[in-house]
Amino acid sequence: MSLRSSVQARSSGAAIQIGALPDGRSRVAELEVLQRIGRALNSTLDEKEILHLLIEETVDVTPAERGSVFLYDLDQACRLPQAWFGYTPEQADALIGLGQDCAHGIIHRVFDSGQIAVTQNVDLAPDYVQIVPDTCSELTVPIRHGLDVVGVIDLESSEPDAFDEGTQRFVLAIAEQAGVAIGNARRFAEQVAREQAVTWRNEQLRHLLEISRMFGQQHALDDLLDIVVQAIPETVGFNVALLSLVGGNPPLVHRAAAAGIPLADFVSLQQVTQPLDVLERTLKDKYRIGQSYFFPHQQRAEWDDEYTHTVLDDAGNWQEGHWHPDDMLLVPLKDSAGALLGLISVDDPQNGLVPTQDTIQTLELFAHEAALAIENARLLDQTQQHVAELELLQQVGFQVASSLDLTTVLKTIVASALQLVPASDVRIYLYDQLTARFECGTQKSRGDAVSRPMTPPRPDGFTARVVQASEMLVINDALNHELYTRPEAKGWNMHAIAGFPLKRAGEILGVMDVSFFYEHRLTQKELDLLTLLANQAAVSIDNARLYEHAKRRAKHLEALWHINQQLATIRDFDELLSQVVQIIRRYFDYDHINLYLVEAPNGTLILQAHSGQSEVDASQAAHIPADRPKCIIAWVATNNKPLLLEAEMISPVPYPSPMMQLLGTRSELAVPLHIGERVAGVLDVHSYRANALGREDLSVVQSLGAQLSVAFENARLYDELELRVLNRTAELADALKQQALQVDKTRAIVESISDAVIVFDPQGNVVLVNPGVERTFGVSHRQWMNCNLNGFPMPRLASRDINTMRAVFEAVRKAREELAEGKDLVVKTFQVPGRVIAASFASVVLRDLDPLNVVAVFRDITREVEIDRMKSEFIAMTAHELRTPMTSITGYVNLLTTEKSGPINHEQQQFLRIVSSNANRLMTLVNDLLDISKIEGEGLRLNLASESMADIVAEVVVALQQQVEEKGQVLVLDVPTDLPEIQADRDRMIQVVINLVSNASKYTPQGGKVTVKGWCENGHLMLDVRDTGIGISPQDRERLFTRFFRADNAIETQEGGTGLGLVITREIVERHGGRIEVESRLGAGSTFRVVLPLDLSPRLN
């Protein structure tokens, strides 16, 4: 139902009631009044206008002279006259005063009781308050809306009893009409207000929506809080809003955002923080309205001492129900888990009133939104920060991993630490666990922090303690810590510090100190992050160090190599030293290098070479006595030990050394140099930086020193050698000359030899030929050179020449094989086309390991062979020609002596025997000559057959019987017939035995004895021919088997002999694989023993 139709309905209802009025009054006038009022009510909803019309018409129609309408004013919480008629302004003011004084007045009675009050005589009414003096009667009617009394119509008249029942009924009807009208108007007003509230609410929601949207847009938390706070005045109706946040450890409340406060004031407010627990104590239940807390200024005394608020305003004009400047309204901000995040406090409401439920609810809505925003923002912040941290760590990891330069790595780590945590100062000290010494480091301060200089850590300080603990150390309240309350820590303003050992494989490489020069409590997360970073740093430092180490090592090696090269090439000692010092300077960052040498005999150290960053007059230190006290150079030379001199280092010599003072350096290292065992000098290096030299330098300089020592040694040896060489040069030159001479001689000899001489090296290459080669072989001696025994490059020659060379090489190859078997000399005869060559080969040991250098000497014996052949021919011819007449002579003498042609007398017989004997001698001589010629020529040829030695001996006995008998000798035979047969040439073997027995008989005097004895022994047949003759002297025995030799005592016997028999005999025996032995004693007889193998085959080729 619309408002208007509702009003009409009420109006028509009222008309019906008025239509029921019974008496006395002009019905027309009343109806007109009601119609007018009804019209007015219909035409307006303005309460004031309705009430004015109502009272005017009512006074007009009724006997009343004046009247007023009181209504309860919601805003002022009191009854006030809303419309009046017939009162002067002064009287109207009195009416307002009447309304405000609830204690007196009929009006208030009616208001309170809801009953109509008809006062016919005001004097009789005890609660009557006079406004107009001549008032006699009064009619007071309540106006009801629903069950509530919302107002009163009060009419006054100067007449007593002016208001009759009809009038009362009429006014009651008017009041009822007014009640409806006021209700309508009020409902309308409420409606309007509600619509306004909806609009406002919409507006608020729009703001909140905007805020929410902003939250979604990832505004920074501070921005969001600003937006929330700035929205409060417009949306909730407070001019001042202040947002505080809880944070930190321990938790503190601090102002984060404000609206309606000048910036300067807010900044000063921000400086003030409140502990959270104080606030929590203040938030008592009795102040609580819903989620919020309202602290009326009346109770201020109770909390003011605990919770300081804004500056107090003068509270002069304060009214009940209004906002007092000291009032305080707080809305807590809680996260989803109910934890207190902060609070919003508001002040100075735009309507000036104390907050209504609505206001509080709206504010709570904001607070909730803000809390959510804060929570979200914090979560987002945390996430983002976490992501950022991780990114940073990753970046750090990447950066430090990608850099192998230690300085860069350290800088990156320090910078990263500052990005990870809000520290004031981060520094890294490198640590050498071996020397337990801190090395250089890197430091970086946050921009606004006071930078503390990078000093070496104190041995009892925090950093040293981290090393000692070998784990993270944290001091959160450094202000009270013993370390930072010491005098030297004054001014550091150290609030908190965390130290992280940089460890790698158990070794501490350094320490990272993270300092806070303001109140800060390191969270677990920060510590975790920094630990992560420290681990990363340790790995990177280790890598960088390894790399640097490798780099330095490479450089050192390069330097050593260069020095080595110099050492190898430079022979001038002074120049060498100067070069070495220059090289050290070039490759190492030592600022000064000094090289001292010990000068014998007093051991004074002389500065031999110097190289420096700057030119320094080192002449002051040019001579150092070996016993100079407190001098590092002298100390090193005397003690034969290296020495490192650094500040604050326990050392046998004082710091700084005189040399350091001279050069202005701050680190020094000296190592001894040696020649053999003896200290020969000192290598001394310097750095301008303090603590610049370490164990690595020690090892480097020591190795340089060792290198130099080697150089000294070499130089010394070289000098010695040089001297020796000088001495030897003359000898050598002499020897060379001699050798050259010898070579020339040898060559001359070799060249002058008519025989061909060819020398082969172990590989079979021809290395020497003489001109004789050309003479001997007819092949130019040039052609022989560069030839090889095996597959020699054959020069282009006539096939005859090639065949010649082939034959020569073939002979050499065979001879080499024999030489390789150990023969000293090989003699060979071979043929080349048209030539017979006699060659002798000998191995020559030129060097120990190649014994098969072969010297071959060739002689052309073609002519000799031919002559020999002719000789043999001649002898054979001669023998033949001699034999034929001899055959006739002996044959016919034999015929005569055997008396085949008739008897002869004794004397004739005697003469013929002499002829026969001499003919036989001649035949023997011829035969022997033939044999010798054969032996010396083609050799004896044997016709072997199985023969019995007994038979042979028997045949010999027959042949020699006559000779033996003539000398009256005894021939004793002891040759068993059952001796094994031997392979022998029968005629030749007979010749052997005849020779021996004949000799034995010849050289044995008359009546002597000749014994022939045969036996077997060790696979040999032995045959002894023993006589009792003149014997053979030892010296004759040696020559017994040479041609034409006859012993002196043999010649004396007058026995004939050619001196060839034994030579032939031995040759025959040897051709049978046997040998002949002689035993003899002068005058006592001789024994010739023939030893023949029973198995001949192995001996014969």
Binding site: T887, S888, G891, T898, K900, D931
Partner: protein
């Protein structure tokens, strides 16, 4: 009585042999040289029991003669003995190769010659 054909260019030696063998009871036919030897051997109605030849002879050597005789059917089985000088073994070898059975070294004593020939004739029969 055995018939012996001998060849020797040297008259003294030939007669010495002839005398000695005849003395020993052999019937002897003598040829002057190799050629004569072959011709005599061919022409003899009664074939000799033994042929004894010198080596070096004019017109035809003993070897050549021996080789010829060995080609002739009726004569090839007759033993041939060479008379050879000592020291010329190579000749002896050649003689044996040409089909000879034996050789007798010169110079020889007549008794020795008779003894050897007697043996050889005995062996040949």
């Amino acid at each position: 009585m055995a018939l012996i054909l001998i060849a020797e260019d040297e008259k003294d030696i030939r007669e010495l042999i002839q005398f000695s063998l005849t003395f020993a009871g052999f019937e002897v036919v003598a040829a002057l040289n190799g050629k004569d030897l072959v011709e005599k051997a061919k022409s003899m109605t009664v074939k000799p029991d033994l042929i004894m030849s010198d080596v070096r002879m004019p017109q035809m050597t003993g070897y050549e003669a021996c080789a010829e005789i060995k080609k002739i059917a009726g004569l090839k089985d007759i033993p041939v003995v060479f008379l050879s000088a000592k020291g010329q073994e190579s000749e002896i070898q050649t003689g044996l190769e040409s089909g000879a059975h034996e050789y007798i070294l010169k110079p020889f004593a007549p008794d020795e010659l008779i003894r050897r020939v007697t043996e050889l004739v005995k062996k040949a029969k």
